[in-house]
Structure formats: structure tokens, C-alpha cells
């Protein structure tokens, strides 16, 4: 029989145990992204896809950007009291986005003269990756920087030149390739570029205005609005609806249109492109939820293929290189999973992830769970087996970590002053998984569940807003008793963690 003292200790831990927490696969998916974000600068191990020059839709910029979105959604919806788990990785992802490895493709792609934009002839090569067109890069860095500002209330990217795109090569050029922006100037630049194009959107490759690639810009405008009190997103959304009315956001047979050739004002949509339907759905759900929720069941019924063990895979689009060799990736499958998670179709999500877990060769590595690249398109049974780094590192993890309406709710702006004033895990030492991080204002309790990534770890946890309401009582089930240091309103806690540990700070 428990004593009174034992009961009072156990009660907060019992309450904490009743809260939702990340499961093993979610922890593994998150760890994969944290590990990739933490790789040394310009180390792209595990992120290199089957095409060269960052040309496919799984290029580095896409992986980095959607990792940051996944981190944002996981923080806001699942681990709101652990900004310290996400802030530095978010910065690392933005630092990586600024690397010329990620954007220097633009110097070549800006010249156009490809199959879709040949009628413009060869254009002058550009170095500035956000100057004109290339919304397939510029919107991501814009939305990442502004999302960071919104999530962490940190002005790091508001400082002049904080988003500088620079090439500093040793053996060519004179060091003058520097294009300086910050979160505001980049946002203004994109907003007025939208105005200049009648809000149809900004082109990716010259002359090619993709619906999908303009969605991140809208998300970025919305983050700017939430931070600065502007109304850019509404302006753009209103204008977008009017501009796309000439072409249709949706085709006559109910699929999302892919792109408009800007000069010719002609819409281009391939007949078999599940990725267009699902990628656009995943993003546009932020501001057109009714349309997306109405279309998603139709699209999933059309593009999915049933597989053993009640799983599901998505028939991939087959694209052709100039030599007509096929390009097939798992991105159709990955984006379907992301869209299913966003619209809250749990059954489809479970079946899509189930297929990946069973048939797409996941691995566990350094605490991470992901699906390594595989270039074999189909297995002996004719089922999808290809895997690209974008889907394997990011999309399936994003889908696993998101919640119903996750991006839509982030778009609405869920973080209040109270969120930022509440006690929170502000930083933590390496090698620790966070499964639960919730502050309950009513109870005045902060609940954490942690475990070491590998073996025992010496843990250092730093909490913000921790002693303004007095010293908290620390209730835990750790083998080692935490040692506490207070500095200002921060509380630092150190202990050795050899197993999963539940921790409650109670004020």
C-alpha cells in the first residue's frame, strides 16, 4: 500500500502518463530529421537522390524545407513545451538552405530553353536565387525563416543580411556574388513579385508557374502576417483565386492543375500525376480545406493500389528524361501519406505507412527510422519498391508526425503570448529523445518523457520561465536524482539517464 507521500509523488506521473506521446516510429522519424539537420555543413550524406544538379522534386531544398515544416508541426501539435528540441535544428536547416550546394542550380536553370520554355530562347544566366522566378527555392527559404520567427519569437533572420546568398569560390569570380536579404525584405520582394504577376504566382523555372510551389510562399506570407500584423496572405489568396479562375485550380475531371506557361497563358497538367494531387492537397489544405477534403477521397481512390496485409501503395507517375529513360520515385506515395495525415484520413495514412514499413525496407540507424534510397522501381510482384531520399527521409516521417489539420492550424496562428510565457524545455544535451513535452496551465505542471538515443547519457536540461512562480517541485522516475541550478528565470537540471524517464515539474 502506498504511503501518502508516495501517492502524492505518483499522482503527477500518473497524470503525465495519461498524456499523448510520440511512439517509437514517430521518435525514429523525428530523430532522422534531427540527425540530418545536425550533419556538418555541406555534408549531404543520405540526402542525395538519383538525379543530378538538384533537378528533381526531391532535391536538397525540398528535403530541407519539408523537414523544417515537419519539425514545426511536431513542435506545435505534439511537443509544444519543448522548443529547445527544435530551435537549433531549424536554424541548421536554414543554414543548409543558404549553401550554394542547394541553390546554385539556378545559375543554369535560369537560362531556360528547356522543353517547356524553349520558345523564350536562352535567357541570361542568373546567380541570385531569389531575384526572379525560382519560387521553388525562394518560397521555401522565405517560409522557413518566417516560420522560425513565428515559432520561436527569435529575430535572428530579421537582421539585415541574415539571409545572404553568397558564393565565395577560391578559383573563380571576385567574391561579389552576394545577395543580401532578411525575413522582411525577402518577404516584401516575393509579395511584390506576386503583385507584378497578377497573383497568378511566381515561376519556378522560367515561364513555368506551378500551383504547388506558390503554396509555401502563401504560408510564408501568413507567418509574416502573424509576426508583423500585415495582411499579405489575404491579399495573395484573394488575388490567387481570381487569377486562377481563368485556368482552374482544378481540372474539368477534378484533379489539381499543375502549372501555367506564363507567357502563353496556357495551363499544363499531365494526365497521370498523383503527386500533383497529393502535394498540392497537403499544402493547400492550409487555406482551402473544404476543396482539398472534397477531392482527397476521390484522388486516393483513383491512384491507390491495394496490397497484402491491408496496405496501400500509390501508382507512381512515370516521367521521362530527355533520353526517354523513365524517372519514377516514391514521392507520389510520400505526398499521399502527407495529405492523408493533413486531412485526417487515419485509415489511409495507416495503410500507406504500413506499406512502406512492410515493403520499402526501413532501417533503424543512430536512433533514426527511415527508408533508404532504392533505385529498383518495382519488386518481383510488380509492387512499388523505389525509394528516394525526400520520401524516405522526410515525407513519410512528416506524415507520421503531423496531426489532422496540422498545417491548417499552424496557418491560423495557434501560438499565444501565454505559450511563450509558459515554462518550457529551452535546450537539452545531445542524444536524448523527447516523447512528451506538455505544459498544463490549469495544473501548473510541465510533463516530459525522455529516453536516451543510445545507452546511458549525461543529461542537461534547461527550462525557461521556470522559477517566476517559485521553485517547482520535481517529480520523476529517474534512477539518478536530478541536480538543479537556477540562473535568473532559468532552471538547469543534470542527471544520468539510462532508461526512459518521466519527469514532471510542478509549481
Amino acid at each position: 500500500m502506498a504511503t501518502n507521500a508516495e501517492s502524492s509523488i505518483a499522482a503527477p506521473l500518473k497524470w503525465a502518463a495519461s498524456l499523448p506521446e510520440l511512439d517509437d516510429l514517430q521518435v525514429g522519424a523525428l530523430r532522422r530529421m534531427l540527425n540530418l539537420a545536425g550533419q556538418l555543413p555541406d555534408d549531404w550524406s543520405g540526402m542525395q537522390g538519383p538525379t543530378t544538379m538538384q533537378e528533381d522534386f526531391g532535391g536538397l531544398r525540398f528535403q530541407l524545407a519539408y523537414m523544417s515544416y515537419a519539425l514545426a508541426l511536431t513542435h506545435v501539435h505534439r511537443l509544444p513545451a519543448a522548443p529547445g528540441l527544435f530551435k537549433r535544428p531549424f536554424e541548421q536547416l536554414i543554414e543548409k538552405m543558404l549553401s550554394p550546394d542547394v541553390w546554385a542550380y539556378w545559375h543554369y536553370v535560369s537560362t531556360g530553353n528547356g522543353p517547356i520554355n524553349r520558345n523564350q530562347g536562352e535567357l541570361p544566366a542568373q546567380w541570385n536565387p531569389v531575384g526572379k522566378d525560382n519560387i521553388m527555392y525562394s518560397a521555401y527559404i522565405q517560409s522557413m525563416a518566417l516560420m522560425y520567427r513565428y515559432l520561436f519569437r527569435d529575430v535572428r533572420y530579421a537582421k539585415e543580411g541574415a539571409l545572404t546568398f553568397a558564393v565565395q569560390a577560391m578559383f573563380w569570380g571576385d567574391g561579389s556574388l552576394r545577395f543580401s536579404y532578411d525575413e522582411r525584405s525577402l518577404n516584401e520582394h516575393l509579395y511584390w513579385a506576386m503583385v507584378e504577376r497578377g497573383f497568378l504566382g511566381i515561376a519556378c523555372e522560367p515561364n513555368c508557374v506551378f500551383q504547388i510551389c506558390n503554396q509555401p510562399a502563401i504560408i510564408g506570407f501568413r507567418m509574416h502576417d502573424l509576426v508583423y500584423g500585415t495582411s499579405h496572405a489575404k491579399d495573395v489568396m484573394d488575388g490567387y483565386d481570381k487569377a486562377w479562375a481563368d485556368f482552374g485550380v482544378v481540372t474539368a475531371d477534378g484533379h489539381f492543375n499543375m502549372m501555367v506557361m506564363e507567357k502563353e497563358r496556357v495551363v499544363v497538367t499531365p494526365p497521370e500525376a498523383p503527386w500533383v494531387d497529393f502535394w498540392l492537397a497537403a499544402l493547400m489544405h492550409a487555406w482551402k480545406p473544404a476543396l482539398v477534403e472534397e477531392r482527397f477521397p476521390v484522388h486516393i481512390a483513383q491512384w491507390s493500389v491495394a496490397a497484402p496485409h491491408d496496405t496501400l501503395w500509390i501508382r507512381p507517375a512515370v516521367q521521362r528524361k530527355l533520353d526517354m529513360s523513365p524517372v519514377i520515385s516514391a514521392r507520389d506515395h510520400g505526398w499521399a501519406a502527407v495529405a492523408a495525415a493533413e486531412v485526417g484520413d487515419e485509415e489511409t495514412l495507416t495503410r500507406l505507412l504500413g506499406y512502406a514499413d512492410r515493403f520499402m525496407n526501413p532501417v533503424r540507424e543512430n536512433g533514426a527510422y527511415y527508408y533508404p534510397r532504392r533505385d529498383e522501381h518495382f519488386d518481383a510482384q510488380g509492387r512499388l519498391s523505389v525509394m528516394d531520399p525526400h520520401t524516405g527521409n522526410v515525407l513519410l516521417g512528416y506524415a507520421r508526425l503531423n496531426v489532422k489539420d496540422g498545417l491548417r492550424k499552424l496557418f491560423e496562428g495557434p501560438l499565444s503570448d501565454a505559450h511563450f510565457a509558459a515554462p518550457a524545455l529551452a535546450s537539452l544535451s545531445k542524444g536524448i529523445n523527447v516523447r512528451r513535452a506538455t505544459y498544463d496551465a490549469g495544473r501548473r505542471m510541465l510533463a516530459l518523457a525522455l529516453d536516451p538515443v543510445a545507452g546511458a547519457a549525461d543529461v542537461v536540461l534547461v527550462f525557461d520561465n521556470a522559477v517566476q512562480a517559485g521553485m517547482p517541485e520535481i517529480i520523476h522516475d529517474a534512477a539518478d536524482t536530478p541536480r538543479v541550478i537556477v540562473a535568473g528565470d532559468q532552471l538547469e537540471m543534470r542527471f544520468n539517464m539510462s532508461r526512459r524517464t518521466s519527469l514532471v515539474l510542478a509549481w
Binding site: 536579404y181 525584405s185 516584401e188 520582394h189 509579395y191 511584390w192 503583385v195 507584378e196 504577376r197 497578377g198 497573383f199 489575404k234 491579399d235 484573394d238 488575388g239 481570381k242 487569377a243 481563368d246 497563358r265
Partner: protein
């Protein structure tokens, strides 16, 4: 160009047939709208709203704000066509037109989008999709603010009053 159109410039002809540049309007706050006289929906709605805004601003508005309407359809909008259109429905506005190149330069300077599109319902077979934004410039001709089509009149009045109070 990064951001809003800082100091837009133009050399056009007003609806009385007189050449006009941006400098001719220095000393006034300027409310500038781009459109065309054959526009069936967007321009009449916007000009009606903006006329109502100016009406509400009253004498102070009339004394300090010059409302300008720059055409994006110079092929049809001669000075006389502009004069007839505006004096009939929107007499507070001064129309500005000019050769196609001059209109292009004005559009570029204001970062305005306009593109001809075929329209069988139009007597000439086309309409022009265009940016539906009203710009507000200070008496030095510098950009101060802009009001997209969806901005409600009350909000425009509030913002213009704020600018007039500072200026």
C-alpha cells in the same frame, strides 16, 4: 526591384490632352488606380468604392489628394474616352493614358500586372486582366501604402486618414 514601388514615375497624357508626369502631382497625396474604361466589373466596382472613400474624406481629401486613373488599355482609352468615362461616373478621378510604351513604363514603375485576354463578350473581343490595387503616394510621389481590391472602404479611409495626419 525589391519590395514596393518606391518612387514610381511616368510620362503620360491626361484626359484633357495635356502631358503629365509624376512631378506634376507632387504636392498632393495621390490615390492611383490602374484599369481601363471597357472593364465591366472590377474597375467600376473599385472606382465606385474609391469615390465613396474620397467622398467620406470630404474637404480635406479634396484639398490634399489627387485621384488618378491610369489606363492599361491605351489602344481603346484615348484621352477623350477617358474623359467621357470618368466625368460620367467618377468625376473625382483624372484619367491618364499614352502610347503603349509609356503605359508599359508606368506599369513597370508601379509593378502593375496587366495582360490582354480574349473575351467573346467584349465588342472588341478582349478584356484585360490587371492588378486591382489602389496605390497611395505621399506629396513627394513616394509609395506610402496600397489597398488591394478586397480592402473594405472603411479600412482604406482609416489608413488614408492616418497618412494624412502624419503628412
Amino acid at each position: 526591384m525589391v519590395g514596393a514601388p518606391g518612387h514610381p514615375v511616368f510620362t503620360l497624357t491626361d484626359h484633357f490632352g495635356k502631358q503629365a508626369t509624376e512631378k506634376d502631382f507632387h504636392g498632393w497625396f495621390q490615390l492611383v488606380y490602374f484599369g481601363f474604361t471597357s472593364c465591366r466589373v472590377v474597375c467600376p466596382r473599385a472606382l465606385t468604392k474609391l469615390s465613396g472613400v474620397l467622398e467620406t474624406l470630404g474637404d480635406e481629401g479634396a484639398r490634399r489628394i489627387k485621384p488618378l486613373y491610369i489606363t492599361v488599355d491605351p489602344a481603346r482609352d484615348t484621352p477623350q474616352a477617358m474623359k467621357t468615362f470618368l466625368e460620367t461616373g467618377y468625376p473625382r478621378f483624372l484619367g491618364l493614358t499614352g502610347p503603349e510604351q509609356a503605359i508599359e513604363e508606368a506599369k513597370t514603375s508601379f509593378r502593375v500586372f496587366a495582360q490582354r485576354k480574349s473575351d467573346p463578350a467584349d465588342p472588341d473581343g478582349y478584356q484585360i486582366a490587371h492588378t486591382a490595387i489602389a496605390y497611395f503616394l505621399d506629396p513627394g510621389g513616394n509609395y506610402l501604402d496600397h489597398f488591394p481590391d478586397a480592402t473594405e472602404a472603411g479600412r482604406i479611409i482609416e489608413r488614408i486618414r492616418g497618412h494624412l495626419a502624419k503628412g
